[in-house]
């Protein structure tokens, strides 16, 4: 017997592959809602606590008119979006052999990661909204209006996506869920060695030096400008550049790890 049937399979193409992988990732994210919700509670909690405990102290030690609530809102956004990824799910795919099943198909390899990032983008966007709403409830609004709010969200989202590369790199390199869970440790230097609680001009010594090199400092500056002072092109550009630089590093690590994982070693 010889098989002369026409070939049914063909390459779906990059965009269709991206859509297929993203569709699955979004679907699974919806089913993993219990893993996403706590990530939202924490930043809202810290926003309330920080304002409640530090507002009087900070505003009392700074020139009149300083709005600590507006100052804190970008910090909560950073807390909400940093570390969101489907890296844990990717590790399970590695361990269960489902990644092998995908690799047996002609799927465009980069879409295996980019598709997950599409789901991350959706989650990160959703995480930002309640924080902004809580800010509005607390009386924080944007000097730059609705357009400024959209740019503010774009900066937060760009940072959230930029950071996803780190947990994906760890997931693909190690295939170890514990290592992926520990990826949140990377978050601490970014989140705390910066202007999270006091303005940059008030910082001194080594912390001021570290904050100068921390990309989150520039994100916060750009976001705070949109909230507190108005359209500051320089600050906004630096915020996006900071995200871009982190993305360049983290994505390089992640896609290098993907290449290593699918290289048929």
């Amino acid at each position: 017997m010889s098989d002369t049937r026409p070939l049914l399979a063909r390459r779906a193409g990059f965009l269709r592959d991206l859509g297929s992988v993203a569709l699955r990732a979004v679907r699974l994210t919806r089913r993993d809602a219990e893993a996403v919700v706590p990530g939202l509670v924490v930043p809202l909690f810290f926003l309330m606590i920080n304002i409640g405990s530090l507002q009087s102290f900070v505003e009392g030690n700074l020139p009149p008119g300083f709005d600590f609530k507006a100052f804190q809102l970008p910090v909560s956004i950073i807390f909400a979006v940093t570390g969101i990824s489907r890296a844990g799910s990717l590790v399970i795919d590695v361990q269960d052999g489902y990644l092998d099943r995908l690799l047996l198909t002609p799927v465009a390899r980069p879409t295996l990661l980019l598709g997950l990032m599409v789901a991350d983008l959706a989650v990160i966007t959703l995480m930002c909204v309640p924080v902004v709403i809580l800010g509005a409830v607390l009386g924080v609004w944007f000097e730059t209006g609705v357009l400024g709010m959209l740019v503010f969200l774009a900066i937060g989202i760009s940072w959230g996506i930029a950071f996803t590369g780190f947990p994906y790199a760890i997931a693909l390199k190690t295939g170890n869920p514990i290592a992926v869970n520990n990826a949140f440790l990377l978050f601490f230097p970014f989140a705390f060695l910066t202007t999270a609680y006091v303005p940059q001009e008030q910082m001194t010594g080594w912390l001021a030096t570290v904050a100068d090199w921390n990309p989150v400092t520039y994100l916060l500056a750009g976001m705070r400008a949109l909230l507190m002072t108005g359209w500051d092109g320089d600050a906004i550009l630096k915020a996006f550049l900071a995200s871009g630089m982190v993305a360049a590093i983290s994505f390089t690590l992640a896609f290098t790890a993907l290449r290593g994982r699918v290289r048929h070693k």
């Binding site: 010889s2 049937r5 070939l7 399979a9 569709l23 269960d96 052999g97 047996l104 198909t105 048929h264």
Partner: protein
């Protein structure tokens, strides 16, 4: 282009080394299209590593292979378009439904919506899990997962289907169902099937040809009948008194006309070209040596006997090194 006259699988000197271990050590294969090829060996023999190389998941350390006419190292995409694979462990996502998994497979193989719906409808019969198609895979039994895994490998109607131990861990009913489907795919669709198994009766029942692999090397290759004939026509099994196995073995080794004698505890297994004629000399020799014979059985050889002849071990014992 797909050259339909080329062999389904062709390998020359395929080697895969992991550290110090040569998991696959110079495998040659020539499998014509339309055959069921049984790749038989115990755990750790190199079956799965060979499959992973032939299905493009693993690069060979050396050697070459072509599957469905395309090179597994240089033309991976054309290989992937033409093969279906069900790996040893069901590679399924427990948080998707059966239908979602099949649909995802169809998408990745470039099937449009209508083709996907048609294929999934066809495959529902194979999967035969009723409403569970729309339930999470995490709720499936082992047999249901195996059948869904097989269905996922068939979504795009592959030319060559690789099944890596498809019935391991299945109950007899599920196993029979997989066997029936393998036969149907081969007979009705002309699909070439490369089937690895550690079950002798599976290879015997399904495969047109069998390759026996041990310690990374193919030690025998042929139809099941040819392989059995190669070690003699019959097997005589003698069950002797407790502690008399060694004496019985030594005694029978001195009997003319016996091809080989193997002692397994209180059992002695004798390979012989004419079993009927050998029964009497065997019984007389044992009686003369004072060996108590509890049972004397004559049967035709199995693939396990072939494996023993080629490797010195029984399949059930696994690899000794």
């Amino acid at each position: 282009m797909n050259p339909p006259s080329s062999p389904a699988v062709e390998a020359r000197g395929l080697v895969r080394v992991f550290g110090e271990k040569r998991a696959v050590d110079g495998v040659d294969l020539d499998i014509p299209r339309g055959q069921i090829y049984g790749f038989l060996g115990p755990n750790g023999a190199g079956k799965s590593t060979t499959v992973r190389m032939l299905t493009t998941l693993l690069n060979p350390t050396s050697g070459t292979a072509r599957v469905a006419g395309h090179d597994i190292a240089g033309d991976t995409e054309n290989v992937r378009l033409r093969i279906g694979v069900a790996l040893q462990e069901s590679a399924l996502d427990p948080k998707q439904t059966g239908r979602e998994i099949l649909d995802m497979q169809g998408r990745l193989y470039g099937l449009d919506r209508a083709a996907r719906h048609e294929r999934i409808a066809d495959l529902e019969r194979l999967v035969d899990i009723g409403d569970a198609m729309d339930a999470m895979v995490s709720t499936y039994s082992g047999g249901m997962k195996r059948r869904l895994d097989l269905a996922a490998a068939l979504v795009h109607k592959p030319e060559v289907l690789f099944l890596d131990e498809p019935t391991t861990g299945l109950d007899p009913v599920s196993r029979a169902s997989v066997w029936a489907e393998v036969r149907r795919l081969n007979e009705e669709m002309g699909m070439t099937i490369f089937l690895t198994t550690q079950y002798l009766e599976e290879a015997d029942a399904l495969a047109h040809r069998v390759g026996i692999i041990a310690r990374g090397r193919i030690v025998a290759d042929g139809t099941p009948a040819e392989l059995k004939r190669s070690i003699g026509s019959d097997v005589v099994i003698v069950s002797v008194g407790e502690g008399q196995g060694a004496l019985a073995g030594d005694t029978l080794r001195g009997v003319n006309g016996l091809d080989h004698v193997e002692v397994k505890g209180d059992r002695v297994i004798v390979g012989v070209s004419d079993g009927g004629a050998a029964l009497s000399p065997v019984a007389v020799a044992l009686s003369g040596a004072g060996v108590k014979v509890n049972e004397l059985t004559l049967r035709t050889p199995t693939l396990d006997d072939v494996f023993l002849e080629m490797t010195g071990n029984r399949m059930e014992e696994g690899e000794t090194a």
